[in-house]
Subunit: 212 residues, 2 copies
């Protein structure tokens, strides 16, 4: 279960809350990037970045010189992962909405120092984008590892919100002669595009070729 804290409790639309850790994991595992919120000179900065999950820990990475990562270690952070599943078209402008799944994680990021955990974190981040890829490519060398900061964030304080299903209109609006429903949004993989410099004869690996 996800414990409720003042900032993870929903004040409105409480029926959208999900409180199982499995729901949190599912939202995170289905994502490609997160939006990392940090404080820079007292102002929020929201950076899109890759991430990976191992158990109850989220990992992000970046250049050791990145403003955002230094800021992420200096003050609390918020990581949000969002999937837009459809547009909810109601009979009134007011009740328009979006079907979505989102997770928000709050906490203090920790810089990962242990070499083994650093590699595990980087593997998780790579595998989040392309499952099966880590074991097929050249692993990071010493210089690359030295240039990369790996940050860990516990999933301890987190909230999950899900909206699904048709619009909810005011009762008196249901008779209006207006179409209402959901316009689903689909995300799919295209055909892999080989690097123009690819050595001829190397086929697309099965784990990359995810076209249906």
């Amino acid at each position: 279960m996800l414990s409720t804290t003042p900032r993870t409790a929903l004040n409105r639309a409480k029926d959208r809350a999900r409180t199982n850790r499995a729901d949190l994991h599912a939202v995170l595992d289905a994502g490609l990037i997160c939006h990392l919120g940090v404080l820079v000179d007292g102002s929020p900065m929201v950076i899109p970045t890759g991430y990976g999950r191992i158990g109850e820990t989220l990992y992000v990475h970046g250049s050791t010189g990145a403003t955002s990562l230094r800021a992420a270690l200096a003050s609390p952070v918020c990581v949000t992962v969002t999937h837009v599943d459809g547009i909810v078209l109601a009979r009134s402008a007011f009740h328009h909405s979006v079907n979505y799944r989102s997770a928000m994680i709050y906490g203090l990021a920790r810089e990962v120092e242990d070499r083994s955990e650093r590699l595990d974190g980087l593997r998780a981040i790579t595998e989040q984008l392309a499952p099966g890829q880590w074991d097929t490519v050249r692993p990071p060398d010493k210089k690359e590892l030295a240039a990369t900061a790996v940050l860990a964030l516990s999933l301890c304080e987190a909230s999950v919100k899900v909206r699904q299903g048709p619009p909810v209109d005011d009762e008196e609006d249901y008779d209006l002669p207006i179409w209402a429903g959901v316009l689903p949004l689909r995300v799919s993989w295209g055909t892999p595009e080989p690097d123009p410099r690819l050595t001829p004869g190397i086929p697309v690996p099965a784990h990359i070729n995810r076209t249906p």
Copy 2:
């Protein structure tokens, strides 16, 4: 042109910067939701939410009671819109990346008080999700308007980053027998799903039926 400020200047990967206002508008206009970063009790909070653009102003809205919107008026905000266009698969783990288009806007949000601008902002937010929809549905009534806060954010301080194209590997890695390229991500509309309570005989409007 977008003027450069300390926080919109890119420190790394400077070739990813776009400095035309037209690029900013294009990234914003192609999006469905933004991630709004606000400060709550000294910590960042990153909220996925709808938005709309009119000229050089971005609008967001929400319940007048929402913590996030109250926070957005009490301290600086950052709004980020991100499109993931593909996964960049390199020969080395280190050079993996994502093809994306993103915009970040910094500033102080203003609560819109003028009735006409409030309606324009709400229209823009609705039209961002479903172009053509505003004029076909019941407009907000007095009670709904009173329950809705509309916030405006100038596009004055903004940055745009774009990564596209194949991976960039270390020169000595190009001969490795490893597939490299881009796995494109496609976003498309599904078939509209009518509300189970839809009055029979109302067809899907042309502006909603965007299936190819």
